[in-house]
């Protein structure tokens, strides 16, 4: 365990990615994020930010290179271990990925349900996260009946409900106004001070500048200087 503490939370080494043959969207990416860091991943649209995040939660497998996240070597991880790995993460998806037949509350609860957590614990955590994201009054609505910003906040609430060791947030404020965006960032910051590592992909430069955190720049599939 002592040994694990010293390893970075995220390690990408020589990672390349092709969705289709001969079209490489990431070129030889090397990237380390230490435990407890708060990092922004910025770059223009199409730079490869989402691709990086997808590789990190193993929604994708890289064409080459190795990735270690939260102590799991993703090129060697077995399918049966995958759920346990993903339960340690809190992922905010760029397209939200809410379950359409479940209410806001049930969507948030779902990522705790899969862990087999106790009902009372689930209820407590869900309520707290709905409060933090300002969704209390919409908790019984279905995703199709709420605004884009509310869907995004539902996705955020679901990502943090499980007390994850690592938050991977893909454009988490893309549908929020500046005030709400900042509020969400402060929420992440609060979680970060309690030990959660945070990686946020965004192209909201204003927000990044206000937060004064480490920034990793990516352009055309390559990491630029930090």
């Amino acid at each position: 365990m002592e040994n694990l503490q010293e390893n970075p939370m995220i390690q990408m080494f020589g990672v390349s990615m092709q969705y289709k043959r001969d079209v490489e969207v990431l070129h030889n990416i090397n990237m380390d994020v230490e435990k407890g860091e708060f990092v922004f991943l910025v770059g223009p649209s199409g730079a490869g930010k989402s691709t990086v995040l997808k590789l990190l939660y193993r929604g994708l497998v890289p064409s080459s290179g190795s990735i270690v996240v939260a102590g799991y070597n993703l090129s060697k991880i077995r399918n049966s271990k995958l759920p346990h790995f993903r339960r340690r993460l809190g992922v905010v998806f760029q397209d939200f990925k809410l379950l359409p037949h479940k209410t806001v509350e049930q969507n948030v609860a779902f990522s705790m349900r899969v862990t087999g957590a106790r009902r009372s614990q689930i209820k407590k955590n869900v309520e707290r996260c709905l409060n933090w994201t300002g969704l209390k009054h919409r908790k019984n609505a279905l995703p199709e009946d709420i605004s884009g910003g509310e869907q995004q906040r539902t996705s955020i609430a679901r990502a943090i409900v499980n007390d994850p060791t690592l938050i991977l947030a893909d454009e988490p404020t893309g549908n929020l106004d500046p005030r709400l965006s900042l509020e969400i960032m402060h929420l992440f910051e609060r979680l970060n001070t309690r030990g959660t590592t945070v990686l946020v992909a965004t192209h909201d430069i204003n927000l990044v500048e206000q937060m004064e955190k480490r920034v990793i720049r990516i352009e055309k599939g390559k990491i630029l200087e930090e």
Binding site: P83, R86, R87, H101, F110, T115
Partner: protein, 279 residues
């Protein structure tokens, strides 16, 4: 647990028309299988009433003494398939033959002095063993003193054939139901594949996703066969004034059909899952 059930019923609600169709197909299957069972039962019962002579006759060896003969009778009676036995002496046998050939007396003249007919036991089977005489016959053959056995192979074969046909059609329909339920669940998983991907992304195990689908199959199977039995009962009830009393299936059969429905649902639910719920 409560969560799993609510998930199951939510699945069923959202499987829509295909879910309803598969329940209907199982209901129809259950009805047809039940009618087949009723026909088989009916034939059994009819044969029992209609048959005039005992189905099986065991002829004894010549010149047995009274004790041995009685002993053989006891042994036959002790066999589980035997309902009753009747001893027919050489004299009785001659009488019977006489009755049969009453218009041709001359054939049997002089037989009183030298009677070639053997003595025998006429054996009546218990109703539930009609159609499986062969086992009894082999049991009888093992009893010393019995020389020959005659039985109405034709009737027996007829009953067995009907049972085989019933079984065959039942199996085919059962398989058809399994395929239909499989199909229904494959379609459900296909329609919901995006949701399944999301569930996996937030850390659900395959099992966690599978169990509600498995339960969906079982519920559909039980629902279908239950509805089928209820409909059949209703129809027979309505037809009763026209056709006279029709015996519905005994409760054990009803339970068996409904449970078979659930089992079919389970199989249907278990089969298609592996391939469709990978990562």
């Amino acid at each position: 647990m409560a969560y799993i059930w609510s998930e199951t019923f939510s699945n069923i609600r959202h499987s829509g028309l295909i879910g309803i169709l598969s329940v209907i197909v199982i209901a129809l299957t259950a009805m047809v299988v039940s009618v087949l069972l009723m026909v088989a039962n009916y034939i059994h019962a009819e044969l029992n009433i209609v048959k005039q002579s005992p189905l099986i006759v065991a002829f004894l060896q010549e010149g047995l003494d009274d004790d041995t003969r009685q002993d053989i009778g006891e042994k036959i009676k002790a066999l589980p398939q035997v309902y009753s036995t009747l001893y027919v002496s050489k004299k009785d046998a001659l009488e019977k033959t006489r009755e049969m050939f009453s218009d041709q007396e001359e054939i049997l003249e002089g037989l009183e002095d030298f009677n070639p007919l053997p003595e025998s036991y006429e054996i009546e089977l218990k109703a539930e063993y009609i159609g499986s005489e062969r086992i009894l016959v082999s049991n009888l053959k093992a009893i010393p003193g019995i020389e020959d056995i005659q039985y109405a192979q034709e009737t027996s074969r007829f009953v067995r054939n009907i049972e085989l046909v019933t079984l065959f059609i039942g199996i085919i329909l059962g398989l058809a139901s399994v395929v239909i339920i499989c199909f229904s669940i494959i379609v459900t998983t296909y329609i919901r594949r995006d949701e399944i991907v999301i569930m996996r992304l937030v850390g659900a195990t395959g099992l966690f996703i599978r169990i509600p689908l498995l339960l969906q199959g079982i519920v559909q199977g039980l629902l279908g066969s239950g509805i089928g039995m209820a409909c059949l009962y209703g129809i027979l009830y309505l037809l009763a004034p026209r056709f006279g009393h029709i015996n519905f299936l005994p409760p054990i059969y009803i339970a068996a059909v409904v449970i078979a429905g659930g089992l079919i649902g389970f199989i249907g639910g278990a089969l298609p899952l592996r391939r469709f719920i990978k990562a």
